[in-house]
Symmetry: D2
Subunit: 346 residues, 4 copies
């Protein structure tokens, strides 16, 4: 039985981690960390857990926690883990970090986009970027997994086969992303109030969103040369779900069959990536509550561009589900254990 | 392994049955019946099932189906099952009917409220009303289970302990119910269009909704005398969930402790009914996707009334979940098998 | 031209007042008061007003404001106006108060339900309860108008003709109310976040909501004897709208015609109250953005009860619209000036 | 007083036309045409109009109608107007067509994208494309106005100044559009049901949506050379609103100041186009219910692209509002008469 601790258990991603781990046959949650709700019953914060979770929220003591559990999930604000993580802790426990602290290899890039000084840059190189479909083998032997961002997972997986196989001109890649509101977190802020989000759509963080360099770094590895993208997130009046619509110029002579074959090459054996039938567009509703990413594409012969589309649940494959998937890899479990969730419709 | 067939697999309740049965360790779906989509791939109707269900929709042949499966779920329009069910079929297969055909013992009442002639009244007496928490033992030995309605399950369970224990004046009982829109089904009708439902709330079926006599019959059994209620359903702009708010005069001298003790008497051992802590009001979101019913109450000393509240997911405990619970009872399975679903939030 | 000042112009009711007064031919806003946004451009707080309102938010100086305008609207927290209003100010300016400070004549009742000490109880008697359809003549000569609450306006108008004419047993009156989320205000609180409200319905303030005594006081005047009610508000995932469903025992022999005649007696000449055709149920969407209250009823012969229904837009007839209607009465304007708003659908 | 007739008065755009014309000082509606609801009271179809509109729906007799009114609005399916319009009718009445029948000058392009044979191609050349901000003078003297599509209006106005001034490489222009659900019309179809749209976002009509050639034709006029674009619409779970996010390579040396100056050159005097302050992103909620288009832009120095954003209410500036604006131009009225609508928030 894998003993798990969560720091940041009362955010939306933390809550989803609890939901998923409760359904995992070989894991149990030993520590519900939440600085904001210390000594309060967890089920009073998330009443869906009433009579399911009897635990009380605990403080964030990483070192003490390292002695009690096999894996720690940190669903914490940017900068927190970097400020407390040490080599000594990593010797005692595996860590899956849902924040961005160890996702970006170039500390200068991290510090520029996040406007935070990184307190443990010496640990960045070791961290494995936990996009399981791409870095599976590295995750298996890691101590520290940097769990990818929600927009990032969707954006990268949707484009990966075309970038890796050189089918598109990466200089022309544009990512227009749409997200449900749980991605904004549970903080009490006016822009996230029901009446401000409902019946509304807007772009935000235009040309400046922090997930941009994370996407670029991973696609750069895939392309074997520097990739810069336009990434524009939008806030959609729904709880869960991310949809990305990506645009790029196809290389000369690339056909629909070639594109489809590229997707199949990388994803045919992946149980959590579904390449849809021709002409079916991904919809966030069809993956809600599950760990799936649905992808598909359409070529516009008139403009020579391919339109790529991907959809996932930002709290599952975009956060907690991928974190559990990484945990399974870390401990030699069936990668899908706890994640065989049928999407809920409607 | 229980072999199950579904007639009406492409309605919302049918779709939810598929989702739940896919997670059941000892059941498998052998027949996806859907008159409207014969020969079409089921996963093309419900794309959440892509790469999960490979079956094609079949016609509604009850007799043929009876030879192939152990249990048939009928999620069909009122009158369908009554028009095709026979003693012979019941000798061959168990049936859990999600329509109203066998819920009401008095065929005249059924025909008055549903405006349909009942074609097999001789089978009504045998049918067991499948509200598991109340009729558990009868369900275990039944051939034909009348699975309760969504409003009904919520309304009855919320009031049952007080009615059964004689704590309220049942002549004063009023049920004000609020439902998400999946309860209206997947039929293409203008009043169910997004733009008509969204940003709107209304009452409908006032003093005439078909779930009224079903609620009254069951509460009459509990009270040991005739109970008539006002039942008013409302349509709420959300996908899932039913909330009932019930009002009744408390009998002289009944205290909060007495009411709580009554709830505990009937529900303390029930794994799917949660009596909330004092002053916590049930919310549909806290039970979404799960088989729970959350109940609680508040006494208004000024008026001498008690306000009862109950919440459930209309597609789970209000339809497919309860149907699976009944199947488990019919076949001697753990009653909660396939139903240990943690509510999804947000 | 009526010069108007608003204190609390950046709450939702304040914003709606601005929208309505901008469409009023004989009124102009001279003061956009907002303690939270002093010196900030109003159109930066509410960007719908971009290039429409050029003013900057000002502090809450009631006395100074009294010299500059003809009428002051206070859309402020409970207790604010009571703590600053004086006889001297009332001699200089008319006041329409959207808070509850002067709605309840019995100061002890106010202090009990609001848990605030009332700082100017000597002004309570003079205040006119500004439910125009009932107190029109008194409003015309008032200095201080207590603008009714949103739930209250809907609850009272829906029941008034039956209570006034003695058609129901007021001891049996129950009000089950449903409100959109703008009624909860623009404060940044977790329970009002999009993800907490969306896809959810719940009761709140059960047997303890502050609008209860306000409803009771007004219905007591109408009945000529003390009326106590059960009032239960619910939060609905939509921006605007209140729907009330009320239940009461009809007096012996009261027919549908009698009830309809009662509604017509009081409302036939009212331009903002619409008695719907038989069997049409009020829906909040049909009054959205307008000053209308839609009402109707249905008698349940089986239980001897009448079910009353009423719908309004909580920010218009439930707040800012009624405030403008009161202003029109105070200054001898056409009562409907600025309020001839066609409801917006969808 | 302008006498107006509406054919297609019971669709969403038709309903909005009624709302707007009711607020117009110099227009009155003489004919509520609706083939589906002949002889039914209009206010029974749209109950927001109860006690406001007393008329009954009439059949679609274009020739008879031409004798009774000064202007006819056709909010009808594609192909209808083209099949009944004649020179004779145009001699008797002005027509503002909200369908696509006369928007595209090249009849072959129309027939290819709409898959309909055009029945009156001889009238296409005369029709004026009614995008008022661009074709104002031509509209004033027209007999037949082709009112632009909702996506089209937003897409074109957002890009127009940059295309006209040659600031972007039009070969790189990509338009990612998001629309509320009223754009899908009031037809009873499963994909438009509440439960299918709610909590969901998807792209549709990828590389094949009919508004594409309309956008391209108008931008081609502006650019003075052929423009082809990628246009991808998305369905958003909200009633009203369109947001477009457009991407293009800036020409060498074009600065933020240059772009802003271009917008100001064309829109500074336009009362319905609002160029937002730097860094403010358009949101559909801020224009809801009004005739405004809000636009802004952001340059991404890293990629050399400009991101353009525009928002409007699809039923107002995207349909009925623009139609009234065109009517005002046709009859020499103040262009903003009936359209001074303050956006409603929240």
């Amino acid at each position: 039985m894998i003993r798990a601790g969560i720091i940041g258990a009362t955010g939306y991603a933390g809550g989803e981690l609890v939901r998923l781990l409760l359904g995992h046959r070989n894991a149990e949650i030993k520590w519900f960390g939440s600085k904001s709700y210390i000594d309060k019953k967890y089920a009073n914060v998330y009443r869906n857990m009433f009579q399911i979770v009897e635990d009380t929220c605990l403080d964030d003591n990483l070192s003490e926690l390292a002695d009690q559990v096999d894996v720690i999930f940190t669903a914490t604000p940017q900068g927190y883990l970097a400020s407390v993580l040490t080599e000594d802790i990593l010797n005692r426990v595996k860590i899956v970090d849902l924040s961005a602290d160890y996702r970006i290899k170039d500390v200068a890039v991290y510090e520029k986009w996040y406007q935070i000084e990184h307190k443990s840059p010496q640990l960045i190189q070791e961290a494995v970027y936990g996009l399981c479909e791409i870095n599976r083998e590295k995750v298996k032997v890691a101590r520290l997994v940097a769990n990818p961002g929600c927009y990032t997972t969707c954006s990268i997986l949707t484009a990966y086969p075309l970038v890796k196989e050189g089918l598109i001109d990466t200089d022309t890649l544009i990512i227009d992303a749409k997200s449900g509101t749980s991605g904004a977190g549970r903080g009490a802020k006016v822009p996230n109030l029901f009446c401000e989000v409902n019946e509304n759509i807007k772009a935000y963080g235009v040309a400046s969103h922090r997930h941009t360099p994370e996407i670029e770094e991973q696609l750069t590895y895939a392309a074997g040369k520097e990739v810069l993208v336009n990434f524009t997130p939008h806030l959609v009046p729904m709880n869960r779900g991310i949809l990305v619509t990506e645009y790029a110029k196809l290389k000369e002579g690339v056909s629909s069959e070639t594109v489809r074959a590229a997707y199949e090459k990388y994803f045919a054996k992946e149980q959590f990536v579904r390449l849809l039938d021709e002409d079916d567009c991904p919809e966030t509703k069809w993956v809600e509550g599950s760990n799936y990413v649905d992808v598909n594409f359409k070529i516009d012969e008139r403009t020579g561009r391919v339109i790529l589309m991907g959809a996932l649940d930002n709290l599952v494959k975009g956060a907690a589900g991928q974190a559990v998937q990484n945990m399974n890899l870390l401990f030699g479990e069936d990668e899908a254990e706890g994640l065989k969730l049928v999407p809920m419709f409607p």
